[in-house]
C-alpha cells in the first residue's frame, strides 16, 4: 500500500476549524455521520474486575449491563446520536474468538434493536489493545512466547467481522525508547522513540488495519499516542506534581502528532481516537474528524485543558469509566449524561451560528493553564501542523520541526504573554531547544547517532523496526 504523506494543510487557516465540522466527514454504523455539522458523544467503559472470569461473564458485563444501560439512557435523555467505544481487554486480544467475538456480536445485535425501534444513530468503535512486547518482538514470527503480533492482527479481524463499525488501536511502537527517554528528560531519545520508531511501526501496522476495514466494509478510525504523549501528560500532571516538567510533556505532544498522522496517511478515515490530545494538530493538517476528551473524562484522569480540547472536536468522549453503580444510575449512564449534554451545547451553538464563539470560549479558559494546552490551542496547533507538512515526506524532520515549533511558541509566550512557567519548566524548555537545535538535518545521520547512543536501552531491538 502506498502511504500518502501530507505535504500541505487541508485547512486554509486556523479560523476555519471548529467543532462538529471536518473537511472530510465520515459515515458508518447505524446511520452515524461524523464531522458533518453535529458533535457526537462517544461513551467508553471498562468492565469490573472479575468480569473477565469466563467468556459468558464478560459478554454479560459488556452487553447485558453496559451496552443496555447506555442505550436506555441515550433514549431516556433524547440524544439523537451516540457512539460506543469498547477498548478491548487483554483476554479479548489473547483469545479473540473465545472472548471478543460474543461481546462484539452481542453489542451490535442490541444496538440494532434500538436503532430499529427508535431510529437513534448508533455506532461502535472497537479499539484493540496492542499487546506486543518489544522484548519479545513486534513483528510476526518474532514473538515465540506469546505470538502477540499475530494475535493483535487476528483480534482486529475478529472485531471487524463481527460487528465493529470503526477500528482503532493504541499502538505502542517505540514505547520502550520513549519510556526510557521520558525518565531522563532526553528529548532526542523521545523523538527517536515516538517520532521515528513509532512512525515506522505504524507504517507497518496501519495498512493492515485499513485492508481489514475495507474487506469488512467498516471504517478504520485512527491511532493515538496514548502510550507516549499521554504518559508524558500524566507524569507532568497538575500543579502539585513534580514528576516531569510540563514543558517536556508539551513538546512530546507536538512530536507525537507527526506520528499519529501516519494512520491517516495509510488510508484510515477517522474519526481519530479520543485520548489523542494531538487531535487539533492532525485535524488541522488532514481535515479528518477527531474524537476528543477533556473535562468529561475526569472519571479516567485529570488534565489541564478540560475545556480547550473541545474547541475543534467532532466527537466528545469520557475516555473510560469502570462500570459501577452511582446515585444517578450506572457509571456509564452518568457519564453519558455529561458528554451528551456537552455535545448538545455545542450542537445548539452550531444551530445558532455561535459555534466559533463557543470554540473561543473553550479555548480561552485553558489557553494559559499549561504549556501543553497552549500549544494545542487551535491557532498554535495549526502552526505546528504547518511545520509538519513543510517536511511531510520525512518522518524524522517533520517530528523534529513539530517539536521545535512548539518549543518556540512556548518560549515566545512566556517572554511576552500570560503563559507563566516555573523555573524548572523554563530550564527544561531551554534544554529542549538546545538539544533539538543540535540534531542533524539528515535522517541517516540522526539514525546512526541514535542507534549508537541507545544500543543498550533495555528492550530496544532495531530489528523490531527493520533497522
Amino acid at each position: 500500500m502506498v502511504i500518502k504523506r501530507y505535504t500541505k494543510m487541508e485547512y486554509g487557516s486556523p479560523d476555519e476549524m471548529v467543532f462538529g465540522e471536518s473537511k472530510y466527514p465520515v459515515s458508518y454504523g447505524l446511520g452515524q455521520v461524523v464531522g458533518a455539522g453535529v458533535v457526537v458523544p462517544e461513551i467508553n467503559f471498562a468492565p469490573r474486575p472479575g468480569a473477565e472470569k469466563n467468556p459468558e461473564s464478560l459478554r454479560r458485563e459488556y452487553v447485558d449491563y453496559i451496552t443496555k444501560d447506555i442505550l436506555d439512557r441515550a433514549v431516556t435523555l433524547g440524544f439523537p446520536t451516540v457512539q460506543l467505544e469498547n477498548e478491548h481487554i487483554f483476554q479479548m486480544v489473547n483469545e479473540p474468538q473465545k472472548y471478543a467475538k460474543p461481546v462484539v456480536a452481542g453489542q451490535k445485535e442490541l444496538m440494532q434493536k434500538y436503532y430499529d425501534e427508535y431510529n437513534i444513530a448508533l455506532s461502535i468503535r472497537h479499539t484493540l489493545a496492542d499487546p506486543r512486547l518489544a522484548e519479545e518482538g513486534l513483528r510476526p514470527g518474532m514473538d515465540k512466547k506469546h505470538n502477540y503480533p499475530e494475535k493483535c492482527i487476528q483480534s482486529i479481524e475478529v472485531a471487524a467481522e463481527n460487528g465493529a463499525d470503526l477500528l482503532s488501536i493504541e499502538s505502542t511502537g517505540g514505547k520502550e525508547m520513549a519510556d526510557y527517554a521520558i525518565l531522563r528528560q532526553d528529548i532526542r531519545g523521545w523523538l527517536f522513540g515516538v517520532g521515528y520508531l513509532g512512525s515506522i511501526d505504524m507504517a507497518w501496522l496501519w495498512p493492515q488495519i485499513v485492508d481489514i476495514a475495507k474487506k469488512n466494509k467498516v471504517r478504520a478510525g485512527g491511532d493515538t499516542n496514548c502510550a507516549g504523549a499521554n504518559t508524558s501528560m500524566f507524569l507532568a500532571g497538575g500543579y502539585l506534581d513534580r514528576d516531569i516538567p510540563r514543558t517536556f510533556a508539551a513538546i512530546t505532544r507536538a512530536i507525537a502528532s507527526a506520528r499519529t498522522l501516519v494512520a491517516w496517511e495509510c488510508g484510515a478515515t477517522g474519526p481519530d481516537k479520543d485520548c489523542g490530545y494531538e487531535g487539533p494538530i492532525v485535524k488541522a493538517i488532514a481535515g479528518k474528524p477527531t474524537s476528543q476528551e477533556g473535562k468529561d473524562s475526569h472519571c479516567a484522569h485529570a488534565d489541564l485543558m478540560g475545556n480547550l480540547i473541545a474547541q475543534t472536536c467532532d466527537m466528545w468522549s469520557n475516555e473510560s469509566v469502570e462500570y459501577h453503580p452511582e446515585f444517578g444510575g450506572s457509571s456509564v449512564q452518568c457519564w453519558l449524561g455529561s458528554i451528551g449534554y456537552e455535545a448538545a451545547l455545542m450542537n445548539t451553538a452550531k444551530q445558532l451560528k455561535q459555534d466559533k464563539l463557543l470554540r473561543d470560549l473553550y479555548m480561552a479558559t485553558d489557553r494559559y493553564r499549561s504549556p501543553e494546552a497552549f500549544i494545542l490551542a487551535y491557532d498554535n496547533a495549526y502552526k505546528i501542523g504547518q511545520a509538519i507538512t513543510e517536511y511531510g515526506n520525512d518522518i524524522y524532520m517533520r517530528a523534529k520541526a513539530a517539536g521545535i515549533t512548539a518549543a518556540r511558541l512556548i518560549e515566545d509566550e512566556n517572554k511576552t504573554g500570560k503563559l507563566r512557567l516555573s523555573k524548572h519548566e523554563q530550564d527544561m524548555l531551554r534544554k529542549i531547544i538546545t538539544d533539538l537545535a543540535a540534531l542533524p538535518d539528515e535522517e541517516s545521520k540522526f539514525l546512526d547517532q541514535c542507534l549508537k547512543a541507545y544500543k543498550d536501552v533495555p528492550m530496544f531491538n532495531p530489528r523490531n523496526y527493520d533497522l
Partner: protein, 261 residues
C-alpha cells in the same frame, strides 16, 4: 478569534505551582546534607548533581581510603538521600532522581567489584507487572527508587504469569513482593497471587499499585498493601525491614504515606 486582551486570567485559574515554588537550591540543601569528608563528599555530590562521567574516578579515589561498603553507604547512598530529599521538597523532578540513580548505580557496581562475595543489602524485593499488562513505567520507576535506597530488586518484567510470580517468590525469598497493573481486568491477578502465596505459607507484604488499582481493592485480599506512588515503595520497604507485617502496614498506611505524597 476573540480578543483575549481584556481577560483577567487570575479570575479563571491560579498557578499554585509557581506560588509554592521552592526558593532553596539543590546546592544549598546538598551543602547541609552531604558528608564532610572531602573524598566521600565528592562521591555524594557526583550522585546529587548527576555527574555520570566523574563518578567512577571519584569512587576509585574513595576506595583508596575507605572500604567498598563504606563508599556505598557513606558516599553513594548519602548522595541519593539528598536526591530523595530534593525530590520530596519539589526541587528535583523525577528525571533528576532517575539520572542520579544511574550515577549511583555506576558507582555501586565499581564498589561491588571490590567486595569479596555478595554485598549485603537492606533487603530483597521481587517486582512484576500483572499478566496481560504491558504498562511497566511505574514498576520501572519504583525499581530504581528501591535500588537507590539500598534494596536488591528481582525485576520480573511485565506480562508475568501468576505461577511465575509465586515460583520466583518461593525461590528468591524476598522480604516484599510488588505487583502493578493499569487495567481493572489485569489487576484481578493480585488476589490470586496472594492466595497462592498463602497456600505456601508465605505471608510477606504484597505491595500493589497502578492506574486502576485502588486502596479498597488491594485491602480486600490478604497480604495486599496499596501504594499510590512509586516513591512510597522505599517507605513501605523500610518499615518491612523494621518488622512491619502486611497488617501493620495497612494499619499505619495513612501515617506512613503522608510523609511524601
Amino acid at each position: 478569534m476573540l480578543d483575549l486582551k481584556s481577560v483577567n486570567f487570575d479570575r479563571i485559574l491560579r498557578r499554585y505551582d509557581i506560588q509554592v515554588e521552592s526558593k532553596e537550591s539543590p546546592e544549598d540543601l546538598a551543602a547541609r546534607m552531604v558528608p564532610k569528608d572531602p573524598t566521600l563528599k565528592k562521591v555524594a555530590e557526583d550522585v546529587v548533581f548527576m555527574r555520570y562521567k566523574t563518578v567512577n574516578d571519584d569512587v576509585t579515589a574513595a576506595l583508596r581510603e575507605y572500604s567498598p561498603e563504606d563508599v556505598i553507604e557513606q558516599g553513594l547512598i548519602k548522595g541519593m538521600d539528598v536526591v530523595g530529599e530534593l525530590y520530596g521538597r519539589g526541587i528535583y523532578y523525577l528525571p533528576h532522581v532517575m539520572v542520579a540513580a544511574d550515577a549511583m548505580d555506576k558507582g555501586v557496581k565499581l564498589c561491588e567489584s571490590k567486595i569479596r562475595g555478595v554485598r549485603e543489602t537492606r533487603g530483597k524485593v521481587v517486582m512484576h507487572v500483572a499478566e496481560g499488562d504491558p504498562h511497566d513505567i511505574g514498576k520501572n520507576i519504583a525499581a530504581v527508587l528501591l535500588k537507590s535506597n539500598g534494596y536488591t530488586v528481582v525485576d520480573m518484567g511485565r506480562d508475568v504469569a501468576i505461577s511465575d510470580v509465586v515460583t520466583t517468590v518461593e525461590h528468591e525469598k524476598p522480604q516484599m513482593v510488588t505487583g502493578t497493573a493499569l487495567m481493572t481486568t489485569t489487576m484481578s491477578a493480585f488476589p490470586k497471587i496472594a492466595e497462592r502465596l498463602q497456600e505456601k505459607n508465605i505471608n510477606i507484604p504484597f505491595i500493589c499499585a497502578g492506574g486502576a488499582v485502588n486502596r479498597a481493592y488491594v485491602e480486600s485480599y490478604p497480604l495486599g498493601v496499596f501504594a499510590a506512588k512509586a516513591i512510597q515503595g522505599p517507605i513501605l520497604a523500610n518499615k518491612v525491614i523494621e518488622g512491619f507485617d502486611w497488617r501493620k502496614l495497612r494499619e499505619n498506611w495513612d501515617k506512613l504515606t503522608a510523609v511524601k505524597e
